[in-house]
């Protein structure tokens, strides 16, 4: 099953189960979504529940706020995460309102948008920056790393109250997989994808796949047994899970697709250093530069080799230096 099909299945099930859900976005109707995630939903639910909008990102979150105040459960699709910045004014307000109106206004809003690089969309449409999004009060940000999580995270998000932002990686739309029947169980915070004892690798979204591949290489080449944590919920962070793993391995590689100052893992780094002083930390992030057009983007974005090298630096070279 393709990633888009898994999202489509989840949307179909959510919208069939609750007729208060509405879907709103650009080209989500007849066209079926720019990434084909909303295929055929217009036929199933009609124009009163599936809205093709003009290019009005500045209104999307406000519409969602109004609709949820009126008793609906809106699901908003924003094409690229760059366009989320157009809606930032309302997104900020939506976050504030979760506390400002207290129990007077119940809102349950899901915002889905694609983000990230590795699909050659050039400097304007390849950003994976999330650091500005966590400044929004009371927001919950999910980032699925595979097909099964894409499905389960959407199903989980509709049950939660508040503002939920789901960042679906562009490159994941080129992957396929199967939906794990028990995938819904492990959705509190992060998940340990691979057990290990020498090294902890923290990643989220598409780079979890790269980290898993890097872990294999590290094990085959150096015998380094690494533990991989997939942050399914990137904000608020499940810090205890990471701390538990790092206490065991004493070494950590933080993998993120955006530049260091635009990400969330810098917060993990701070917290870890507070709890475990003189901890060995390596960061694998994008280089502080524009993401070029075409294949050249790999020069800026982090790669599997970068993760392997970081793990190697921590486990092998540091050991040699200590001798």
């Amino acid at each position: 099953m393709k990633f888009a099909e898994a999202i489509n299945k989840a949307l179909l099930e959510i919208m069939s189960a609750d007729d208060r859900t509405i879907l709103l976005g650009e080209d989500v109707g007849k066209f079926g979504g720019r990434f084909e995630a909303t295929h055929d939903l217009l036929n199933s639910f009609g124009e009163n529940r599936v809205f093709d909008t003009p290019i009005n990102e500045e209104l999307f979150i406000g519409i969602a706020l109004g609709a949820s105040a009126g008793g609906l459960k809106p699901i908003i699709e924003i094409y690229y995460n760059e366009f989320l910045n157009i809606a930032f004014d309302d997104l900020w307000r939506a976050g504030l309102w979760q506390k400002l109106y207290k129990n007077k206004v119940q809102s349950s809003i899901i915002i889905r948008c694609v983000f990230g690089g590795y699909v050659r969309r050039g400097p304007e449409f390849s950003s994976a920056a999330v650091g500005h999004l966590i400044s929004i009060p009371n927001i919950k940000i999910y980032a699925p790393s595979n097909v099964s999580d894409g499905y389960w995270i959407l199903k989980e998000a509709i049950r939660q109250p508040g503002i939920k932002l789901i960042l679906e990686h562009k490159a994941l739309y080129r992957t396929s997989g199967i939906i794990d029947t028990e995938g819904g169980r492990s959705l509190v915070g992060g998940e340990i994808k691979r057990k290990g004892s020498n090294l902890t690798i923290v990643a989220y979204s598409y780079l979890v796949g790269s980290a898993l591949r890097a872990a294999e290489i590290l094990f085959d080449s150096y015998g380094i047994d690494s533990e991989i944590i997939d942050l399914k919920v990137i904000w608020p962070l499940d810090f205890q899970l990471i701390l538990g793993s790092v206490r065991k391995t004493k070494k950590v590689v933080l993998v993120e697709e955006c530049t260091r100052n635009a990400g969330v893992l810098v917060h993990i780094e701070n917290e870890l250093l507070k709890n475990i002083p003189r901890l060995n930390i390596e960061n694998v992030t994008a280089k502080n530069d524009l993401i070029p057009f075409g294949e050249e983007e790999t020069a800026v974005l982090p790669s599997i080799i970068d993760i392997v090298e970081a793990g190697e630096r921590l486990c092998v070279r540091n050991k040699l230096l200590q001798r």
Binding site: P54, F60, G62, I63, G66, A67, G70, D90, K99, L100
Partner: protein, 315 residues
Amino acid sequence: MLRYKSGKLYRVLFRSLGIFVDGNFCLDLYKKMLLVRALESKLEIIFKHNKTQWFIYSVLGQEACGVGVASALTHKEQLLMPLNYRALGYVIGRGFDINHYLKEVLFRTQENESAIFLPKHTLPYSLSLGANFSIGIGAAIANRNLMNDKVCVCVFGDGAATRGTFYSSLNLSALWRLPILWICENNNYAVSTPMEKFNASGDIAIYPKAFGIKTYPVNGNNVADIYITTNIALEYIRTERKPAFIKLDTYRMGPHIIGDRDDYRPLEEKSRWSARDPIRAFRKKLLGYRILNHAKEVSILESIEQEICAIDVWK
């Protein structure tokens, strides 16, 4: 002048826009407008003693808009506007609890520091001008989908109407045939900037017309006209299942915020609009129709005084 017998009382009808309004109801409108003005002058004193937690946006001269629109609203209409931004007319016209309103909006106490005044039949609002348009669209989608026959009444000024969200929201409301009543209080100034400096068209009513929205330009200083037009527009929205737009031409006789330096408007313009004071004009009409007389006026003024004294926030 028409008279008809209702029970034992003779009730007088008031004619506006070719429609007859009940005389006693007109007295009620008059009383509400007076109450707004009296309350504002009281708030002005309190504000100048630095005892409020929020600015007082002057409604002086714009009382008719709030009272006229809000008096036409029932539990089937949802009011959407910043209720602490030039909203005293709407608060009193709609009959919200003034005590509660003042407590939460002006004298925020420690326990409800972050809470916002949100009475029944109002939608959560933003203080950011121009942010409420999309909230109205969302609420109207909810009302349409849940088929509860409610209409969202979104109130804003000519300044907020220059935000881009205004045009895109008008477009969506017409496109999706949403039950929304847009109400623009056009006082020709965005704080200190006059209309001719911020709006090339010079007439807000052009925009809804461009999107095919039924538009009612009304004299915003005539409370009876406003009341009737609001009713007509609500009827239109419910029968035609389309949005409607009311433009109220009025003038802010006071400063933007009480205590502001109000020196950017020509005196000649101010005095011209002072002559069109909505309360004085309405009083003249009521006297002419013999709905109002000296005895009634005294009793109205006394009841207003009592109401203001009964507000316990300044005790």
